[in-house]
Subunit: 580 residues, 2 copies
Amino acid sequence: MEKILRIDMGAEGGPAAKVEPMGDYAGLGGRAMTSAVVAKEVPPLCHPLGAENKLIISPGLLAGSAAAISGRISVGCKSPLTGGIKEANSGGQGGQVMARLGYAAIILEGKPADDTLYKVVINKDGVTVSADNSLKGLGNYALIDKVKGEYGEKVACVSIGPAGEMKLSAASVAFTDMEQRPTRHAGRGGVGAVMGSKQVKLIVLDDDGMGMRKPADPEAFKAANKAFAEGLRKHAVTGTGLPTYGTNVLTNVLNEAGALPTHNFKTGRFDGAEKIGGEALAELENSRGGEGSATHGCHRGCVIRCSGTYYDKDGNFVTKQPEYETVWAHGGNCGIDDLDVIAALDRMDDDYGVDTIEMGATIGVAMEAGLAKFGDAEAAIRMVKEVGQGTPLGRILGCGAAVTGQVFGVERVPVVKRQAMPAYDPRGVQGVAVTYATTPMGADHTAGYAVTANILGVGGNVDPLKPEGQVELSRNLQIATAAIDATGFCLFIAFAILDQPETFQAMLDLIGAFTGSPLTGDDVTALGKSILDNERDFNARAGFTAKDDRLPEYFKTEALPPHNVTFQVTDEDLDQVFNW
Amino acid sequence: MEKILRIDMGAEGGPAAKVEPMGDYAGLGGRAMTSAVVAKEVPPLCHPLGAENKLIISPGLLAGSAAAISGRISVGCKSPLTGGIKEANSGGQGGQVMARLGYAAIILEGKPADDTLYKVVINKDGVTVSADNSLKGLGNYALIDKVKGEYGEKVACVSIGPAGEMKLSAASVAFTDMEQRPTRHAGRGGVGAVMGSKQVKLIVLDDDGMGMRKPADPEAFKAANKAFAEGLRKHAVTGTGLPTYGTNVLTNVLNEAGALPTHNFKTGRFDGAEKIGGEALAELENSRGGEGSATHGCHRGCVIRCSGTYYDKDGNFVTKQPEYETVWAHGGNCGIDDLDVIAALDRMDDDYGVDTIEMGATIGVAMEAGLAKFGDAEAAIRMVKEVGQGTPLGRILGCGAAVTGQVFGVERVPVVKRQAMPAYDPRGVQGVAVTYATTPMGADHTAGYAVTANILGVGGNVDPLKPEGQVELSRNLQIATAAIDATGFCLFIAFAILDQPETFQAMLDLIGAFTGSPLTGDDVTALGKSILDNERDFNARAGFTAKDDRLPEYFKTEALPPHNVTFQVTDEDLDQVFNW
């Protein structure tokens, strides 16, 4: 990770790749890198699909090393969904492989003069950018099948589906997993549309001949890594809950808490929750004779392994084990209680290359508009299919909940900064609602996952239904998360490092041993703050104000059953989140 | 105009009408009234289609009197198109009739609990609000035919078409003209969607038994009115140009100036301009044996009479003489050079109840997206038809250029604050571009019509292609316009009052004689500023900043043929427009 690859897609005579030293970006990775480049290089008022926007792909600081669970990768740009800065984060093999190739960032900039589609191949010998219109319109699965034939089964891929090519605002960037399937996505904020606007369909990352990245202090690194992994294994969430049931362990938990957004955020309990929760999912997967649930990491080096494989009743692969957010989005939020339907929708989302959260929230809005009844699984499948086909309805839906709400005249649209809320009703988990409202990303649970102390009793306890303590909770988590998103560590390490001081110390030691510069908790805080400062500065220059740090009004006036509570945190308190 | 009618559409037990004294709003009319009520009563972060938004309809201060050309009426709300404050202004009979009924404002507030559609009937005996689902889905023309049968041929109507019922963001509020046709529209900013969200299909205004409003000083009023009308008649634009050719006299003028936005603002000259300009339109209308062009006012009391009637080749009524903005929007901007097609589109827009400017700009964007070729008249007709039908494509288009651009991934979208630009390319008429950028309304020529000094040599001369003097020009016009929009006077009086000091004085005398309080030029300036202050204050509280007072970036980088000029006014200068 000692260099940056910059590809000018609009260069005269065709795309031009150039390898640069780190320069101003030395020492940055992941979200710290993507947000720094966007803040420094992208004009804040540019059109998100224009030549002046840039797409930055950056592995975390420790990616490509032997550090446990450090393979997350960040994709950043000005978002076509929110109009603000965006970092969308993905698992999969991309982070590790790209880091071993030595690139701290790939920056796609400019825009081709015609509509030629390109692929980029990066290996130990260098970078090739070539026109390949034969890829036009391919779903991510067909695309990766084609790649396998040409580049073998070991390369990692970064790609867009038809949604990205159509520049739909909910389009994702796909990353292949350990089985070389395009199941991992930088989903949020339409990063795939920006890759589509650069007309890059595919980036093939081939680390053949490249070694693992070496720590500065191998002995200390090894010891810290061991302690860190042990810490993850001994915590109830990362050691038992997630490995056993996957992220979908949360369905029954959130339903029990009365905070599972159901029927487009109308109630907090879904009658069919038990049928689609993690326990039912594990049982179904096991009964179908696959590898069983939660046996997979999404990338090599994962020690939590919260994923799995979803087979149909005849034993055919459908998709990776659907994540909680997906099960919620296409399940409870749309009133659908059939795991096979949810898995089919997940597969379609991955194939077309769209964010499952945005899609599920959007279908909820479309159902509220009367396009289908809640619970109508066939209609949901038909709608997502239209996204892939690019029909007018499909394009509306593929542009997300805010556009769909506007086009169909719906008032109850659960978005902040035009990005759809994820799987926690803001009235039932008020800490995560503070994050939804204030993160520079638009509604995003991962930006400050207050579900920890609100619901899971991790990192303390803060009553989820009351305003007290939520701002401080969200602030601390947003700072910590920004820093974690720079390291390549999976956010799920948060459970263990919040509860176990020795695991937090092991993480600090691990990073310090890798870079050769000892790290303190204060350094982590400073890093997190600097990233958020960069992001908020960009958004301010793009015209965002405190008025954008608000939930839609109806969450303050419409009480959520079963607890019949409204969102209680005041605007004045929201404005204190970044007051450091 | 001594009272306000407030109708709570969400009252328990059904809509409740209440007549109130003027209170805080004493002395206000038109835009001064609508913007004051929005700024004071509408929560700036509310959903535009929600119960908290309000629709305010207000005649100008002099409406219903014998003052010449004083029948304009304002419709205000928080805009579903821009998210900011909105005042859309219309001709037609509504202003005069409503003023004679004594109402300075009708305020529709709240929202019915179910989907019942209502009509409101106002006459000398009072106000009736009644459910009438038989009106559902009617076009404005069929609706008004029904009204004629029930209420006779003398009432004035305020109504929405299917677009308003569907709450599309480009939906207009229609006002009937002197022939009781729904040809006059408060078009901009989706005011019809807000009326639709209140579920009011129709307001019937019956002034039978009510007299003309009386001036405080009848003698002075009569003298001033005579001088004022004479001033209008003697000015070349209001006395000759507009009466002879209608507003469409501008097509050849703007084309000659190289500022007629053509093919979605790609060039400033349209090959087919001559075929659709005012001269050709007049010749065609005359040849078809109608009343001839420009024989009509849009309301009783007009002394300019810039309108006319468009008949088809068999002598059947099609629509009112299409305005310049409509001829441009559906003509040059879409590459269509056939007046019959343009008239048919105008008729459809009026019938469905959508803004012709937004629709034309939107079809231009759709054509740029490849949905049809520029110049494909059949495709344009098909697209507008889909708006009326409410197909998914129709709903996209009916939500305007910004949504259409997002859904189809188009970068060149000519909007400010998400509202489409009208018929003057901002690079070719840089003064009006300053207005587009900075008016609280979103791109709107009527908010500060710098075409006067930039192109027409009215009120001075300012080079349209250079930045110098544009900010001052736009500032002064925005202030004067806001004041005029409060009086009920048609904005076209500006030509005469800018050039003829005695006509400006006559206008002051006329207002002063009507109200009984003498008026100075400074008073007019103060009124205009106070309206703009209200509007900007609302927008600031809704989250707007200086970053919203900008043109899309491409107008600064893409040169406009034939003069090959970009927009030259700096951001710093734009920020000085309201610096008083």
